[in-house]
C-alpha cells in the first residue's frame, strides 16, 4: 500500500523506527499509516501466532495494537491507528526484546 502522491503536498519527511528499521513518515500521519505504507498488513499476532491487522482505523477494535517506545526505555501497548508519528518514535509489531 503506497501513499497517494498526485495532488498531495507533504512536509519534509521525518523518520521513525519500525521493528528496528528506520523508515520515513510524515507529520500528521498515524503509526498505522507508516506501517501500511511499508506494505505490512500484519500488525500483531494473536495468542496462537496468527496474524492480525488493522480493521476499524478508528480506535474501536484494538486489532492494530503495537508496542510503542515510551519514556526511559519502556514500551507501551497502543493502538497504531491513534498514535501520531513523531521523529525517532520506536514501534515494534512483536514483543520488544527488552520488554518483560
Amino acid at each position: 500500500m503506497s501513499r497517494i502522491e498526485r495532488g498531495v503536498t507533504r512536509p519534509e519527511p521525518i523518520t521513525i523506527v519500525i521493528d528496528g528499521e528506520t523508515v520515513p513518515a510524515f507529520s500528521g500521519e498515524t503509526v498505522a499509516v507508516a506501517i501500511l505504507a511499508r506494505d505490512q498488513l500484519r500488525f500483531r499476532d494473536d495468542r496462537s501466532g496468527r496474524a492480525r491487522g488493522m480493521f476499524c482505523n478508528m480506535g474501536t477494535c484494538g486489532e492494530c495494537t503495537v508496542w510503542v517506545g515510551a519514556e526511559q526505555g519502556a514500551w507501551e501497548r497502543l493502538r497504531a491507528c491513534l498514535v501520531p508519528v513523531r521523529p525517532g518514535l520506536e514501534v515494534c509489531r512483536c514483543p520488544p526484546e527488552d520488554e518483560r
Binding site: G62, T65, R77
Partner: protein
C-alpha cells in the same frame, strides 16, 4: 388469531448466569424447563461483571447491631457453601472455566482501615471463615507486587476469580444436555396469571407470537425483573446500578490473587492471559430516553472521572499498573435492592412466581441458583436463602390484584 400455545413446568426469563444455572439444576429434577432470553445468552451483567470470587464480608455487615451481625452470619454461611460449589464446578460442568482460587486480599491504606480489617477478621473467624490479618511487613512478604505503602490486608485463601464470559455458556450447554429448552431472541410481551394460578407468558420470537403456560415462572432478568413483575402488577424494589470495568494489556504473571480494598471501590485480578482486570463498583452513566428517564435498554456510558478515579486507586495499590496500557473499558448494569441484599425466592403475593436478582450474583450465583432450583422443585424454601426471600418486601404488594 390464536397464537401457538405450549406448556412448561418452569418458564425461566433471562439467559444470564442465574437463569442458565437454574435451568441446569431444575432439569436435573426431571422438570420440563423452557428458558427465554430477549438478547443472547450471557448478554447482560452476567457477562460484564468483574468475575470476582469474593467471600470476605462486606463493610456494611460490620456495622454494630444485631441485624447486621445476623445478616453477616448468613452471608458467611452462604459464602462457605459458595466456596464448595466453585471448587467443584469445573468437574460438574465438565469444562474449564478459568476458575482460580489462589486467595484474595482486602487491602488497607490507613491505620484506621487496618483497624476495621482487624475487627472484620475477628468477626469472620468467629463465624468460621478463616481470614488472616496481615500487617504491612507481612503483606509485603506475601505479595511483592503491591505497594509498600499499604498498611496491611485481610487474606482469605479460598478467594479468587473466574471468567464471566464462559461460565453462563457452560451452564446453558449443560442445561440443554439435560433437556432444557433455551430460546434466545425471545421477548416477553405479556405476563398474566390465569384463574387456576397458571402463568400465561406471551412471547415474541423472530416476529412470531406464541404463548407458554407454566405453573411456575422464574424471573432472572437482572434489573429488568422489576419490569416483568410490573406486568403482573407486582413491585420489586430493585434499582439499576450501572458500573464500569477495565482491562489492561498483558503483563507477565504478577498477581495470582484477587485484590479488594476495605475503604475504596476496587477489585483487581490478572487473567490467565496476563491481562489485568480492574473494577470495584465505579458508576457509569445511564443513557436517557426521549422521555428524559434512564434508558435501561441501551448500554451505559463510561464516566471519565470515575474511570480515572478507579484506575488511580488501582495504581496506588499496585504501582506496576502505571506501566500498563488500558485496552478497553466497558459498562454493565447490575442492580441493588432496597436493603442491598439480593432478592431470591418465591414472591408472596404470586404463588409459583420466583425471582433471583439484586447484585453479588456472580460470586453467589452458582450456590443461589442451586438452592433456588431446589426450592422451586420441592416447593420448600431452602433455609440457607431465607434471608433473601422476597417476603421481606411483601408489603409493597398489599394492593396487588391477581386472580
Amino acid at each position: 388469531m390464536a397464537s401457538q400455545v405450549s406448556t412448561a413446568d418452569v418458564l425461566i426469563v433471562g439467559g444470564g448466569l442465574i437463569g442458565c444455572a437454574s435451568a441446569w439444576h431444575l432439569a436435573d429434577h426431571g422438570l420440563a424447563i423452557e428458558l427465554v432470553e430477549r438478547g443472547h445468552i450471557n448478554a447482560g451483567a452476567s457477562g460484564q461483571n468483574a468475575g470476582s470470587l469474593h467471600f470476605q464480608i462486606e463493610r456494611r455487615f460490620l456495622e454494630q447491631g444485631e441485624q447486621a451481625a445476623r445478616e453477616g452470619a448468613v452471608i458467611v454461611l452462604l459464602s462457605k457453601l459458595a466456596i464448595g460449589d466453585w471448587a467443584t464446578l469445573e468437574d460438574r460442568l465438565g469444562r474449564p472455566l478459568d476458575i482460580a482460587m489462589h486467595g484474595g486480599l482486602m487491602v488497607a491504606e490507613t491505620e484506621a482501615e487496618l483497624d476495621l480489617l482487624a475487627f472484620k477478621v475477628g468477626r469472620e473467624n468467629e463465624l468460621g471463615l478463616s481470614t488472616v490479618l496481615l500487617d504491612a511487613a507481612e503483606l509485603r512478604a506475601h505479595s511483592r507486587c503491591l505497594s509498600p505503602a499499604l498498611a496491611g490486608a485481610a487474606w482469605l485463601a479460598e478467594e479468587g476469580h473466574a471468567n464471566p464470559r464462559i461460565l453462563t455458556d457452560a451452564y446453558a450447554q449443560a442445561a440443554k444436555q439435560r433437556g432444557a429448552v433455551l430460546h434466545t431472541g425471545t421477548r416477553v410481551t405479556r405476563l398474566t396469571m390465569e384463574q387456576d394460578g397458571t402463568y400465561r407468558v406471551q412471547l415474541v420470537e423472530a416476529g412470531k407470537e406464541r404463548t407458554v403456560l407454566a405453573r411456575k415462572v422464574l424471573l432472572a432478568a437482572g434489573h429488568w425483573s422489576t419490569r416483568l413483575a410490573n406486568m403482573l402488577g407486582l413491585n420489586l424494589p430493585l434499582y439499576p446500578a450501572p458500573l464500569t470495568m477495565s482491562v489492561t494489556d498483558r503483563a507477565d504473571p504478577m498477581l495470582p490473587f484477587l485484590v479488594q480494598h476495605v475503604g475504596q471501590r476496587l477489585s483487581m485480578k490478572q487473567t490467565d492471559d496476563g491481562n489485568l482486570l480492574i473494577g470495584g463498583g465505579w458508576p457509569s452513566r445511564l443513557e436517557r430516553g426521549e422521555d428524559g428517564l434512564p434508558d435501561l435498554d441501551r448500554p451505559a456510558l463510561v464516566d471519565s472521572a470515575n474511570l480515572r478515579a478507579n484506575l488511580e486507586v488501582a495504581a496506588r495499590v499496585m504501582p506496576a499498573l502505571r506501566q500498563r496500557s488500558l485496552l478497553r473499558t466497558w459498562t454493565g448494569t447490575t442492580c441493588v435492592s432496597a436493603d442491598q441484599l439480593p432478592i431470591v425466592g418465591e414472591i408472596s403475593a404470586a404463588p409459583g412466581l420466583f425471582v433471583a436478582a439484586g447484585g453479588s450474583l456472580f460470586t453467589l450465583g452458582p450456590v443461589l441458583a442451586r438452592l433456588l432450583a431446589q426450592t422451586i422443585a420441592t416447593g420448600t424454601m431452602a433455609e440457607e436463602i431465607a434471608l433473601f426471600s422476597p417476603a421481606r418486601f411483601a408489603k409493597l404488594d398489599a394492593f396487588a390484584v391477581l386472580p
